[in-house]
Subunit: 307 residues, 4 copies
């Protein structure tokens, strides 16, 4: 896995009673496999990982690995406030057949860069899986300044990728590139909000949950082929939808995945915010605006839409 391309962060499907919906999960996974995405991530922040029991986690990883059966690499979010628990989650991911893990530190009462570095060091030492270092202060409340990230990356060859989600992300990517002593792919998150800017700053693709990965694929392909104008055109065309979808909470995204026929319910685990009727209406409006008349239950034809 070279962490280049498009790696959707998957929402976790729940039934209306909030139990894991493995049927929807498999449906979503098959869809992703059919798109030939470069990998998928489960149990990320917007996968509602923080609302899971460990048994939930196991079930989700197992379902994912079994369904994909090697067709698509699987990255598993394992961030946990305890280092030893993170290591256990890494071990579970490994045993269940995952291909990589993603982690970010938790906020401690007294911030301490040395212990943040140790957190990554211990997990990297204990796990044979490649590690995605996630830099997302908005959810973690941990601000890893660029020199700290560079040091962690240097100390841990196991870090195979940085998920760059600290705003402003394009300049942080540029700064990190200047500090890294080995090439480390950096992926874009944040719902794709800064996706084209990140690509132009040197990101190698997406690791985010935007509900239309085929859009991101077309954009990244154009960018990689040197057709920046086309990459921009694709991204700009869908940007209103991305902006709408990346509003706080995962309810809008789940509703969108329902409309795509992938989820059976937009249920968010409490106390996460559910979908407000006004947001459902707004979503209908923006879909109709960006892709009027398009059947979104199938992979969409990006070229046809943007022409």
């Amino acid at each position: 896995m070279n962490f280049t391309g498009v790696f959707p962060i998957l929402a976790t499907p729940f039934k209306p009673d909030e139990s894991f919906d493995d049927v929807a999960m498999r449906r979503m996974l098959e869809f992703m496999a059919s798109l030939n995405v470069d990998g998928v991530t489960v149990l990320g922040v917007l996968g509602e990982a923080n609302r899971m029991t460990d048994r939930d986690r196991e079930r989700i990883i197992r379902c994912t690995v079994e369904t994909l059966a090697g067709r698509t690499p699987v990255i598993v979010g394992i961030s946990h406030p305890g280092t030893s628990a993170t290591i256990e989650l890494a071990a579970m991911a490994s045993e269940l057949g995952a291909d990589a893990v993603m982690l970010t530190p938790s906020a401690e009462p007294v911030p301490n860069d040395a212990r943040v570095a140790e957190y990554f060091g211990r997990v990297c030492s204990a796990s044979r899986l490649p590690v995605v270092l996630q830099d997302h202060p908005a959810s973690s409340s941990v601000h890893m300044q660029a020199p700290l990230i560079a040091r962690i990356v240097e100390e841990n060859p196991g870090i195979a990728c940085v998920k760059a989600e600290a705003v402003p992300s394009p300049t942080k990517i540029t700064t990190l590139r200047g500090l890294f002593k080995r090439p480390v792919p950096m992926l874009t998150g944040l719902g794709g909000l800064y996706g084209q800017f990140d690509l132009e700053a040197g990101s190698s693709g997406y690791n985010t949950g935007f509900a239309f990965p085929e859009v991101l694929q077309a954009q990244v392909a154009a960018q990689q082929a040197g057709d920046v104008a086309r990459a921009r055109r694709i991204w700009a065309h869908f940007l209103p939808l991305m902006v709408f979808e990346q509003q706080p909470g995962v309810a809008v995204r789940k509703e969108l995945l329902c409309r795509r026929g992938l989820l059976s319910s937009a249920t968010v685990r409490h106390p996460g915010a559910g979908l407000l009727p006004a947001a459902a209406d707004g979503l209908s409006a923006v879909i109709d605006w960006v892709m009027p008349g398009v059947d979104i239950t199938r992979p969409i034809d990006v070229s046809a839409i943007i022409e």
Copy 2:
């Protein structure tokens, strides 16, 4: 003033030594007046109000009021951690000829809704100027839940407008509209990031610092004329630039205002982040992408650009 239309939040021009640049201020104000904006706001969050001395504040308000000389209403940001100081700032604004004030509460060690309500109550009682209630938890760390805002608005007829900047803003606007017992205009901030969605949810326009107010004017005019499709087209066309500009910090916006010929320096007051070379390059790229060949030192012709 009915708080409908486009009310730019002005950046505060500084010379390279960080002193107030009144020449640039006047130039920018003349530009805004020439656009016939519906009002301007000085000393907002991205006007770097928190880095001012009171004398700075006075100078800026005086320069603004004198330059505009009644052509364009002036809203003055007066948020201050102390209620009596806020009242003094309101009095200063009033004496200097401002037309309205904008305020948001400050975070206290022990949050207390009653005292937040008192904050607005005292300022409204003491000031004869209309008040814009700013709801921007990202900068204030005060989360005013919708029922609290509704109560404050009900208790204080002096509140003439809500600046709706709590994400997700479109649904908050909808929720507030349902709770208000009198019509209160709500304006969009956040750099316009959710502008079209807010308009469709019922916002009455913009109170934000996007460096191309003429774009916002064209969009709002289309929306008001019932041409939602055109409003969307305008907004979507410029959305990549808005997204780029609303990244944290005001340096990018100031650089953009320099390129428009309005500021003479993009200087941000320390310890605010200055412009990184990578951000300057990125800005050049996105301008050239969104408006290739356009002379941005003059009011731009939005219709021509989006056709």
Copy 3:
């Protein structure tokens, strides 16, 4: 259980490799049982609950319930960012034989009092165990204002106790007492820092982890017997040690429990801060100062020490 008296919050013993030390756990539990404390709480904040896997949690609850075998009631901390996961942890606690559960809400990106109330409502509906509502914004970042707590208590008869840890705690206790429509015992936490003030404001005892529960017992007994002067004398005598012990982090407390012969290692799970040599020295000094010559490996004779 009437939630009156002294309910130690137990530290979780770890071996130097951070694995659960059940031998030390049993030793500590026997000690608590021998003191006739009114109950014990496991998996609280300073029980490092947030660094546990669910299997760790199960092991700790099982060990506790089995060791105490009904001699001493067991309260289990079950706070979890997900409501359904909290309910599962409540069910696990119940199945394993716990007598009560303790919970506090988690911070959401957009604070929402209604959902905080729902959080308690759902857990209370789902669990037959009495619930301790913990009000500890310092760890949860959730500030439940007094009217919200009163409403939650009113809506949920299952709430049997409030752990009052929002500073200033004495006045919050007074305020809550004035709002509650039924008598609800309130217990003191925060390492006992405000213990005597809380008792005088109406708290019914302690639910905290101070390493000398026999001190708290003597103090509460005196207070209950109406001998406030003696209660104060006891508390004041040990206050320097309490102040020292309640410094951020649990390392000092664990070291103290080692010196009492209850733990075999002061190991804190990473990334929690371990014991600094300077803190160990400081601890020696304060013990020697407060209880010179006392054998702290046995229950101490509080009367003898304070005379």
Copy 4:
């Protein structure tokens, strides 16, 4: 000034209408001068500096300097979110005759150690007054890790003192002492909550607002004379009152200063929390407990009280 001894942080007296009460201020200053304190600090956090206008600040500094007339050194809090404004406040303090300034950085949206260092560097370069670096993350939300503080101290000879208020303060003092390349006095704040521990860790005295500076003087004198047992006895005797007084907010302290006859009103500037009746009662109780029958309107006789 060698920043050794006791430097009270002064509350700012307000009349019931929240205007500055210069009569009370002078009375309090005379009292401090009569105690021969080693200096006083005005406009600290609990001096409600953040609720002042700049004119308020000027008035308070002027009143302080004029009243003390060189008898007692004056330290002025000048923390401001803007570096240039901080420099202006330093200049004002200097012009008005202050002897030193105290500052702490403000939180920025994207934390940046380099700019925190620049903040101190610029103020030190611009001001001829000695600088007290305040390390108080509880109010500033800026966590300066020990190596950063050491670097700032090394780069700026103008830094003459560190106010050590980052918990756990005793170990932070020890850590900093190990890192400093020149001797820098460190003073204790936090209402004296960790005062004796800080002294034993190497602090050179107090810079806090406890309403009985004569207690702190007696304690520091004993400590400096090598009579640690007496220092401890003094501190421990008054610790219940210190604990009570350092609860969040300044209302209790102001009430205490009223009872000492120094202030005429316990008025706190809104939206700061005023005194609750329950807190007034609690205060009466603790005073009566710690110093029964003592006339607190005069300097108290610490030796007589603790025997």
